[in-house]
Symmetry: C2
Subunit: 349 residues, 2 copies
Amino acid sequence: MPEITLAIDCLGNDLGPQTILEATCHALNEHSFLRVKYVGDSDLINESLSNLEPSQQSLHQNLCANGRVEIIHASMAIRMNDKPSYAFRHKDKTSMGIALKLVADGKADGVVSSGNTAALVLLSRYYIKLFAEIEKPAISTVLPSQNGFTRVLDLGASIDCNSEALFYFGVMGVVLSKTVDNVANPRVGLLNIGTEEVKGNDKIKQASVLMKEIRDVDYLGFVEGNDIYTSNLDVVVCDGFVGNAVLKASEGLTRYFAYLINHKLLQGFRGKIMQWLIKPTIKQLKDEINPDRYNGASFVGLEKVVVKSHGNANVSALQFAIKEAVEQIRCQVPDKIKETLNNLLISEK
Amino acid sequence: MPEITLAIDCLGNDLGPQTILEATCHALNEHSFLRVKYVGDSDLINESLSNLEPSQQSLHQNLCANGRVEIIHASMAIRMNDKPSYAFRHKDKTSMGIALKLVADGKADGVVSSGNTAALVLLSRYYIKLFAEIEKPAISTVLPSQNGFTRVLDLGASIDCNSEALFYFGVMGVVLSKTVDNVANPRVGLLNIGTEEVKGNDKIKQASVLMKEIRDVDYLGFVEGNDIYTSNLDVVVCDGFVGNAVLKASEGLTRYFAYLINHKLLQGFRGKIMQWLIKPTIKQLKDEINPDRYNGASFVGLEKVVVKSHGNANVSALQFAIKEAVEQIRCQVPDKIKETLNNLLISEK
């Protein structure tokens, strides 16, 4: 297995660098081919290293000594409320900007950041090239579904997408589905306000015509929001505005249900008994709906791997984001996308 | 209380006319000012009447005799998969078209239909005028939230809305919130991909500038999808494509959670005990998340009341849709919207 180097932005996470260092231990232990460059305030990172539990401390000391782990200083962090223009102005000093530049300079193969999404989209596009065909990059992740999971894109990188942009989201979603999700013949749907061919505007109808051209997929035409969670689809394509609204509404609804369960069902004497009864199943259930498992959204359309973790990700959630980045680099997802785009060009000629 | 006449499309519902007749009994019993015109296949309606339980049968016989209930024959139904063009071609023969024409001709004050949404939007716009200022009508309903409920519009009547259309959705949402939901000073948000002012496209930013002009509201600026379910907002405004995707994704996610609870939590011996323990709380919980309560979406922007029920609505859900229509006619919602639109014009001059 060839070496892989991951640049990790250590300043974007709400819980601080220590959470990131702890999460990275798991991947470093598992993959001897993995090298990590921690980017952030070096004093803070060193302090966090000294707060790790002994086994994790000694792992880091050993790996620092043999060069598998490196600390790269960045004096500034991009905060959640910073405007993209602020992030752009200070890109050379921020952990996010420096991490992305490492990738641009060939010193790392991919980035994981928990920072401000808008800034990450902007700086990723600045430092790392988009493929020639791609005007609009996408953010993609899998969401849990009754039949496994569904990959959705775009979740908010690009709004006002034309039919061509939606088509390329489909192309890239299929590559992710095949390589990262191991689906041989992905079932793909285009999100619309109804499943009938007459539904939607010209843009979405035109996108549907284009989608039929994607090879080795089972294109199912228009699908609706509910299909994300209840159908056997593998990939759902939509504009970033729509995807973002759907994703966030789903997060809100999940919190609302959790509130109902905790504040209504599991209250009082009967609730206490249920809490006890529920325990064995809850672990199994957690594996399925545990949001940690779904942390790590990929930016696609870029020549390198960029994975965005939730800002409030804990150790377990960060492990999934790091795993996602390692997996994408290992599977050479950007190269696979490039290859697919080239094949489309050839078949058009 | 002045008389109110409701035209009820009896052919759109999956469960047949009997469900509709049963649901209407409740409203007829409660409101002596209510008159009903059942529109549909008269043989089928009469057959359904004869299948009602004795007390409901005699209620209908009495009300038919004194003219409070009338059956109006329609030879055709619009089915769920019929194209809007088909519905338009056969409008004079279908229950939906005839019910809407009753309103257009002043023979009824409003319509309740469980039929095909696209056809209902098209035929409503054909038979019932839109207010002069309104180019795009909206579908609105309330969704349950941690702090009560949130009214959302548009849920799918109009796509590709410009900033002015979004502004008018806000105006109409506020009228519904004040009159139907009894909120004195509604808190209103505009759905976007982030809460910061820099987020979104020009259309959404311009809509936000316009929204600040609406009187007697607490306009909170941009909100995100999660705020629908977790904030204390009263009205959320969005394009019909986005609202439809959010609504349907929420329905899908709810079904997915129900699946997890039924197939994972409430299985086996422990599950059986939990089912027993859960019973008393489930009733209370059902009142809060019972989808029946949220049945009955309003078309707004029209000069008359049109309420859309879910196609698969049961008796209880249909009761809520009928109640919604009666309430909107009683509160003169279209007049209130017209008044608000006129005041906007005056304040602009």
